[in-house]
Structures are given as C-alpha cells and as structure tokens.
Amino acid sequence: MSLRSPLGRVLGLGSARSGFGHWWAQRLTAAALVPLGLWFAFSMAGLASTDYWSVTAWIAEPLHATLLLLLLLSLLYHSSLGLQVVIEDYVHHGAARLIALVGTQFLHVLMAVAGIYAIVTVSVGAQA
C-alpha cells in the first residue's frame, strides 16, 4: 500500500500527453487514407496492363504526383504509428523492443525519403 495519492501516481505517465497526439495522428491519417487509398488502388488497377512510359507519364501528371506524395506520406506515417503500437504491445524484452521500435522508424523514414525522391525524379524527368 503506497502513501502516494492517486493523482501523484498517474501524473506524467503519458496518455494525457504524447499519447493523444499519437491517437489523433493515427485517426487523421486514417481519414485521409480513405479517399487517397481508394484513388490509388483503382488507378493502379487501371494501369496494370500499361507499359513503363505510360506509367511514368501518369506519375508525372501534377495532380497525380501531388496525390501520390500525400498518399505516400500519410500511408507511411499511419504504418509507422500502427507498427509502433504492435511492437509496444507484443515485444516485451527491453533491447529487442528498442531495436524494433527504432528500426521500424528508420525504415519508414528511409521509404518516405526514397519515395519522395522517386516521385520528384519521375516528374522532373518527364518534363525535361
């Protein structure tokens, strides 16, 4: 039996602090991904049988490039937040947990940077 007050025990433990930002960011990216994801999936279905040059021309369209960037960033952010929760819930060992958490974040940033660079390269290349 601790003599600390209930308030003293929970102060600074998180959920009323950074936890809300995490929760809210996951919902915002989820809402953004509903139209973006549907647009992307059905665009891909339409592009499935076209050749390389039609695909790069499609990516280079200003509207498509803009939507692709929005999709890529919200999707990777959403994925990073989601995997973070899975790791926090199921990986209990200290070192493995830290490596998994930092590793997934690094991988997501790597994919975001590579993806942005690729979209810009295709767009600029198509105009040159």
Binding site: R27, A30, A31, L33, V34, G37, L38, A41, F42, M44, A45, G46, A48, S49, T50, Y52, W53, V55, T56, I59, L68, L72, L75, L76, S79, G82, L83, H108, M111, A114, G115, Y117, A118, I119, T121, V122, G125
Partner: protein
C-alpha cells in the same frame, strides 16, 4: 499491410530508376507468388480500409450496440470482397498485369 508499403516505395523507386528496373519489379509481381501476394494485399487493403471506417465511427461513439457492431462487421467483409473483385475485374480487363 506494412509490407505493402515497402512494395509501394520499391515500385516508385523502380519507376524513377528506369525501364529495366521497372520491368524487373513488374515481372516479379507477375509471377504466381507475386500474384498470390497481390490478391492477398488487395483484400487486406480493402478490408483494413472498410474496418478502419468502422473504427472511426466507433471513435465518434456511433454503432456500439452489439447487434449494430455485428452487422457492420459483416458489412465490412462484404464491402471488402466487392471492392477486391471490382479491383481485379478492372486490373485484368486491361489485358493482365
């Protein structure tokens, strides 16, 4: 779902890297294993999307009653199946990947 994000990035990078790299990715996705993965991803994607909308309604405090939750659960599977079939009808009607 997360591995689908990896493939999205690879696809974009391959498109930027030139026709040869792009063809290699598309060829790999066209193999039987690639196609099984794509069918699995497309269904997982649409299921995740539909169930995500269900969760957003729950977050707003709607549809919590047990019978409504059960009905929406069935609706999610039905919607995901319809979207997956639509996706593949469009993808394959263009002549195949």
């Amino acid at each position: 779902m997360a591995f689908g994000g990896v493939v999205l990035s690879l696809w974009l990078v391959a498109a930027a890297a030139g026709p040869d790299s792009y063809l290699r990715i598309v060829d790999w996705l066209g193999t039987p294993i690639g196609m099984i993965l794509l069918v699995g991803w497309s269904f997982s994607f649409f299921y995740h999307l539909a169930n995500g909308i269900r969760h957003l309604f729950w977050d707003a405090g709607m549809g919590f009653a047990l019978d409504r939750a059960r009905t929406s659960g069935i609706a999610v599977v039905v919607a995901a199946t319809i979207m997956t079939v639509m996706f593949w009808v469009i993808a394959l009607s263009g002549g195949g990947a």
